[in-house]
Symmetry: C3
Subunit: 203 residues, 3 copies
């Protein structure tokens, strides 16, 4: 887990940034934007750990998460004009964040003896539920339910990771392969606008 | 509990269907609709168990729930035109689902030594909170706060069940009587449009 | 805690009132308004205890909370025209409620060995998350993210309280001083319309 910890903080940093910028767009004040940043950054992992019954939560006894979020929100607010122009960079970092959280979450669930199908679902929860909470609080239909293969890429990558764990347990780099699948699927989906067809009533 | 288990899966099936169809109406894609189906089906029971501090959650170590939800969502998506016409059938199944979950939830809370008034509230939580989450995510004012005696019928049925447990502990069929009360009240309320008067400001 | 308990019930009473009146404004029926009152009153403390992993929750084995909420909702519904005119009185009670819950929540987290920065955050959670849930369910952008120094006053008061705990541990009245800071900041902010500047895009 020590190996993973810095990545976890990096993912937290980028999710806090995405939440703070979303709050700023909603014409909230700086404090409101910070709260949204906070919920976006820790929401997915918090929900995963609550569902697993793993207490105390990862950020309760470790101030690093809170400090990273405050730092990220501060930077986001100071440089938000510039950051909102960097849409492409932003998509890249968001993608790295969800890929990381999906694989980490799947692994954490697996370690606790959860069946693989449920573990993949909990990995996806870690990755996307922070964003879902962000959108619900901002009073919008969640992006994750509409964006290009967003949660789907997490499920596929977690599935690949789980397949490797079961069939090639001694192979190195299993997590990295699952991670890369998510990044590749999501970036290709953004680039080519891939998405599942919308469901239409009466059709 | 073994006796109850198949009913629990049946209730899960119908709630997943109601959530998936609601997601489809919101023009989400198939995956988004599945996520809504999932949250609708397990949301109430999950919240009840979290409030009771009962971990791990019922669906974490048991893949049947996830499989049933995937099956239900698949069927709902394939046959959604036909299903959305069967409004009456749908109301019937939804009613059976909430009645079942309300009595089951009350019983589970009672077994954990919760006072009866709180147990009835937790039973209602099991029954209606999945639907509340579904509506909050779909960005609507929750139906359960407005529909015909929806949550009310659950509270009354749970109350009847609790009364029987306390005054006639050896009587058989207590759960069935509570269950029937909920079904009867809710179906009559739908049929005759019974509801509490809306509150109006300034009146 | 015995000293604090009656205040806790008083805070619960006023939060239930604020939620019930908000539900009534949304044209819900009496039952829907009661549910909103319930969630508003116990939501913040419930979320705090779940995040701390402190089970069973404070209101599960103690019927007083549920009874107080039912009483408060009943009074709110009967006298809601009169109550909605008493806007100033209402702000005062709401302020006393959040100040009480913020300091209580910070103290509870501290007792469980949580670092001070996280404890202040959990105190704020106790105070404001009930209102956030109320607004999310009523389909509005949460007031706490927009109102005059609402959550901010909680954070500052909790910070003052924490500073006293660390630097003057034997001083009496630490909680009262933190409490008074919150009340003073919030009431002055309401009176003079103090708030952080709204964030505007492109500025």
């Amino acid at each position: 887990m020590d190996f993973v910890y810095p990545f976890d903080l990096v993912g937290t940093f980028f999710f806090a940034m995405s939440g703070t910028l979303a709050g700023a767009k909603k014409q909230l004040d700086a404090f409101g934007a910070l709260v949204i940043g906070f919920i976006t950054a820790i929401g997915g992992g918090t929900l995963r750990d609550i569902l697993l019954g793993k207490f105390p939560l990862f950020w309760i006894h470790n101030m690093h998460y809170v400090l990273i979020i405050l730092l990220s929100a501060g930077i986001s607010l100071l440089f938000r004009q510039r950051l909102q122009q960097l849409r492409k960079t932003f998509h890249l970092f968001d993608t790295l964040g969800i890929a990381l959280f999906a694989i980490l979450g799947t692994q954490k669930a697996l370690v606790m003896g959860v069946p693989p199908l449920v573990a993949a679902f909990l990995g996806m929860t870690s990755a996307v539920m922070g964003g879902l909470l962000r959108d619900v609080i901002c009073n919008e239909i969640p992006l994750i339910l509409r964006a290009e293969l967003y949660a789907t890429s997490c499920l596929v990558g977690s599935g690949v990771f789980l397949g490797l764990v079961y069939y090639f347990p001694s192979m190195p780099g299993k997590a990295l392969i699952g991670f890369s699948c998510i990044v590749a699927i999501r970036l290709l989906a953004i680039k080519y606008g891939l998405r599942f067809p919308q469901l239409r009533d009466g059709k």
